[in-house]
Amino acid sequence: MKSDNMDKRELLSALLDGQLNVEDSQQILDELLKDDELLSEWQNLNLINNACQYKMDDTLLKGDISKNISQALENEPAHFIENAVELKTARTTKVDWHNRSILFKSGVGLAVAASVMFVTINLSQLLTHPAGNPGKISSQQIAEVKKEALPVEQYSAPAYVASQLSESVRIPFAHTATFSQNDEVSRQTVSGRNNSLLDKKKHYPLSEDKFIELKKESFDNK
């Protein structure tokens, strides 16, 4: 029996340190609320803990108002709350707010980035073609290109090459464009600007095979 009580005191000491699992905590709490001796042990453990951790002075440590409070609360009605408090860990709350903050910030960031991009593009267009609306390809121009382009084989090339196809046809915003091997315009352009193409290869690399093929083709044309 004495040993059993000793075990309970040891559990109480571990409870004070927050080192018990939920089941043991519940069990020792049940015991604590029934046993005045254990309650007195709880008081001593807290006193030692306060003295060690906060270096409290004697007048504080000797002061005990627990009985006064208990008496004062005797006339107070007991609470009967249906939805008693549940543990919400600080971590969970923090993560929620953190995520919300990230979402909000990234949303705002995207909106700002999109606005800046829009303004930049419009400005650049306005500066390069102040008189007209160059970004727009007329349906007539598209029809002309389509008519001449026979779909024998298609290559993918960077915007730079696409811009060489025709001075009059400009494809805005395009990073890549396709053109046909049989396209007369493209043939002339590639052969006529072979050196330029070689220079630009550093910056807009075609695949090696495509590059050799294009070069050969321009040589044949000569």
Binding site: D17, G18, L29, C52, L73, H79
Partner: protein, 198 residues
């Protein structure tokens, strides 16, 4: 999750369990909370009220208010943070009621155990303080110094360094159960030594 966070969460879980029991009608669970926090709150409120007798009056009033407001406690913060705010407000009202001026700045909860109401570090070396601390705290220190090596190390790592049982077990190269037992035995010896002083 860090060990300190785990410790805090366990401590918070215990408080919430006690609060839950009070909210469901078990008044005795509130006694457990009072025994746990009465000295800690009194120590903090000394930053606002320097008279030690008055402090306990304010602490008592704070606990009674806390009990009355407990149905409104929803667990958004730790119980002690909530109690601390009630305590500080009660202390300020007490000071104002006596036609004194409350401190200009509140003491942060994390620093509250070590600061006075004006944001200065509490004076620990004054003659008055030495006189107060020379008994219980001094006795505890002396008792710890005289404990067997393994008990002394376990209790110091726990109380002074704030290590959890797993960490102490690693440092001392022994099972967690042994750590628990050593800490308890150390506290038992300390408790017996200071009993005549209380």
């Amino acid at each position: 999750m860090s060990d300190n966070t785990q410790n805090n969460n366990n401590d918070r879980a215990l408080d919430f369990e006690l609060v839950k029991r009070v909210q469901r009608g078990d008044k005795k669970a509130f006694d457990v909370l009072v025994l746990k926090y009465q000295h800690k709150l009194a120590n903090v409120l000394l930053s606002y009220i320097h008279d030690r007798d008055e402090v306990f009056d304010v602490v008592q009033e704070s606990f009674i208010k806390a009990y009355r407001y407990l149905p409104e406690f929803r667990g958004d913060s730790a119980f002690y943070s909530w109690l601390y705010r009630i305590g500080v407000n009660t202390a300020k009202n007490h000071i104002t009621a006596q036609n004194r001026r409350p401190p200009k700045q509140d003491v942060d909860l994390n620093d509250a155990d070590y600061m006075d109401g004006e944001g200065r570090l509490k004076e620990n070396s004054g003659p008055e303080k030495i006189m107060y601390t020379e008994q219980i705290s001094h006795k505890i220190e002396k008792t710890i110094d005289n404990l067997p090596q393994e008990l002394q190390m376990a209790i110091r790592l726990r109380e002074n360094e704030g290590f959890n049982y797993d960490e102490i077990a690693q440092v001392m190269e022994c099972p967690v159960g042994t750590v628990r037992s050593r800490i308890f035995r150390a506290r038992k010896i300390i408790g017996e030594e200071i009993k005549p002083l209380l």
